[in-house]
Amino acid sequence: ERASKVPPDSYMMKYTGRIRETVLGYGDNQVKIGGEEVLPFHGFEGSMPNKPLIAMEVPDIKPEEWPESLTRHFEDVLENPLAWAQKCINDYKAEAISLSLGSTDPNGMNRPASEAARDAAQVINSIDIPIIVWGCGNSERDTESLREITAQIGDKKVCLAPLEDTNYKSLGATAMAFQYPLVASSPIDVNLAKQLNILLENLGVSLDTVLMDPSIGALGYGIEYTYSVMERIRLAALTQEDEKLQNSMVCNLGVQVWKAKECKLPTDDMMGDMERRGVMIEAITAVCMLLAGGDVLIMRHPRAINLTKSLIKGLLN
């Protein structure tokens, strides 16, 4: 240690809790997340056994709103989610995939759940690394499509997302039956996050399989709210023995970041290079989420992901 003179009592936190460990993936490709005994990257106080995981987002339809600075890295696979997922794994060394079912959004393309599920199952059945399937956010439609998917993937295990207070019962039951991990989503609120976990537990779901999505605001678009709610959740879990909050947190941040206008403005002298700017907005959003307690980050740009991975390495050393 570099600090023998500073009395350890003066800076060490008093921890009384530990984050649950959750397993993602299947067979030989399981990855553990969570398990922290200390605040993020506080290696001088105790252990953070599993490093944060980054999942690459794969949309199930050709994305219309992604800027060219992002799509150019997926040029040849934009219309084919399976090829896209494989490219993430082979070219970008993805450690996990988050397949987003944007095509099923009733306010968008409104593709029938059965169709979307068939394509999603094909992706899931063809790749080995851990997969999260992320619905469109409409709770009825998500119930339909996520259940349909589970019927088509045999014993493969996926992580279901997002479960909200409106559909946790049906999807919770599905997750339990197949022993899938799941993501419980609540709108930036410590109490709502806790309550959803309690509801899931009452249903019979083991909290060891539950990840929390606190809802993400991007850099410049409400990140401070997410940041503070995550810090409060993590402090409650580690220092206030709040067992119902001792879960890993998932941050679906790519989708929020790349909506921002600043990621799409062209290159100029003031705002610098368009692509680097977008990369940094995504990567710095990721840094904030990591520092606040994010265990799984869902991201888009390969360069932003690499920077984030290097930083994680640098902080864990």
Partner: protein, 451 residues
């Protein structure tokens, strides 16, 4: 430990003269106790009272000021570890490095970008505030020439002077005069000389520690001499060490009032990597986790802008939402045929939406409804942006006298409210606008009043 308002009141004259700017001594005492005002503002408090109260109410991280006037920069004054506990007081300052071994072109480029890379957002001017001037070879003339050049070309930069030579720092400090720079760095060897220069010139000192232990030793030395305007560098030059040191410094000061580390810090991501993007990543860690100053090797819009956003966001006061006044705003000089849009009064939303309308050059009316500073969907979910409330405000806003048509453009995210609004406002046509503000210009250019 902190004093209560009543304890402070006992040490004040209790004449309620109001010269502190607060009508009564009691109210003033309460503000001092809450850390919102300094006892110095009362001209009649005795020196002894000032000393006692100042000492007791001083934040665990000392407030240190550089520069003066438009180049003033305040750091430290922090009272918590997590922003939700109260708030972060003074945003981490971003500095750009110029050094005597850089070419003129490199120096001028940095100074130019320091001056031009400024961004207005929610009414705040975001910018790098400091320039670190580094003496690499020890050549006094070169160094003072560089300091002069920086002073002349940038009026609103706070300066950090970096040299191993006490003599050079002394001359540099004298050149700066009122624009008191941070003098860096104090080591175990030169601390006597550095303190005397600091006392002569009134400049704060930056400790250049080798590690935390060394930093503590130097800090104790300075404090023995009664010197307190200190900024510390714990010597860490890897992401992990700088993060951990930063956390240890802030925690020990806040939780245990550990005096030797009760000062703001200066950090050097510019010395931790050669990759500018990785440098920005490390900087982003340090902005969130407690740095007072973050020194960057260069400024470029694509990395600076995201760092400034982070700084702006994390340092906003969580207890005070940023709000825009409820009102009917005219943008680009609208008339009776101009479009009418409605939004919430979260200042970020207002800023984005009004910016887009302005950029479109289409003359427009923008109705800003008080939603207690909540964004469109948050306000809607919280019941503060319902159809009835919007309708009430439309009627009282006076818009009905300003335009001939009856088209009301609502945010795309509120599409589901169309029916309800039509019931509440039977004379109006409810038009669903785009979801993202970025699409407003194209939408407005197409827009025509119905019938």
């Amino acid at each position: 430990m902190a004093l209560t308002g009543i304890q402070i009141l006992k040490m004040l004259p209790k004449t309620n003269c109001g010269e502190c700017g607060i009508p009564t001594c009691l109210a003033f005492a309460m503000k001092v106790a809450a850390g919102q005002m300094e006892v110095e503002k009362c001209p009649y408090a005795s020196d002894e009272a000032k000393e006692t109260i100042g000492e007791a109410s001083a934040p665990p991280i000392r407030t240190v000021r550089l520069g003066a006037g438009e180049s003033a920069f305040t750091m430290g004054g922090e009272i918590c570890l997590f922003r939700h506990e109260k708030r972060f007081e003074n945003p981490a300052g971003l500095a750009v490095l110029v050094s005597t071994d850089m070419s003129d072109e490199n120096i001028d480029g940095r100074l130019e970008r320091f001056k031009t890379l400024r961004y207005e957002r929610v009414g705040v001017m975001m910018r790098a505030q400091l320039i670190a001037v580094k003496d690499t070879g020890g050549d006094k003339e070169k160094f003072t020439a560089l300091v002069k050049g920086v002073l002349e070309s940038t009026g609103d930069a706070s300066l950090i002077l970096i040299s191993d030579k006490v003599e050079n720092l002394k001359e540099g400090a004298e050149l700066c005069g009122d624009r008191k720079p941070l003098l860096y760095g104090v080591t175990a060897e030169n601390s006597d000389d550095m303190v005397s220069i600091a006392n002569e010139t009134g400049c704060p000192l930056g400790i250049k520690g080798i590690n935390l232990d060394d930093t503590v030793t130097i800090s104790e030395k300075l404090q023995e001499k009664g010197f307190k305007d200190i900024v510390i560098d714990t010597g860490a030059r890897t992401p992990r060490a700088s993060f951990e040191d930063s956390v240890v410094v802030r925690s020990s000061a806040i939780k245990a009032k550990y005096k030797p580390l009760g000062f703001p810090t200066i950090t050097f991501p510019c010395e931790m990597t050669d990759d500018p993007l990785m440098e920005a990543m490390v900087a982003s860690v340090l902005i969130a986790k407690y740095a007072g100053i973050v020194v960057l090797s260069d400024l470029q819009g694509d990395t600076l802008f995201p760092l400034l956003l982070e700084q702006l966001n994390l340092f906003t006061d969580p207890q005070r939402p940023m709000v825009q006044k409820e009102d009917l705003y005219n943008i680009n000089g609208p008339g009776e045929d101009s479009p009418v849009l409605v939004t919430c009064n979260f200042s970020l939303t207002y800023f984005i939406v009004s910016g887009e309308i302005e950029g479109s050059k289409v003359p427009s009316w923008l109705i800003v409804k008080d939603t207690e500073g909540l964004s469109v969907l948050t306000a809607w979910a919280a019941g503060k942006f319902g159809a009835d409330l919007i309708a009430q405000f439309i009627k009282k806003s006076g818009i009905e006298e300003k335009v001939k048509h009856r088209d009301l453009i609502i945010p795309g995210y509120l599409a589901s409210m169309k029916g309800e609004l039509e019931e509440e406002l039977p004379e109006w046509n409810i038009i669903i606008g785009p979801r993202e503000a970025g699409h407003i210009p194209a939408f407005l250019k197409e827009w025509q009043p119905s019938e």
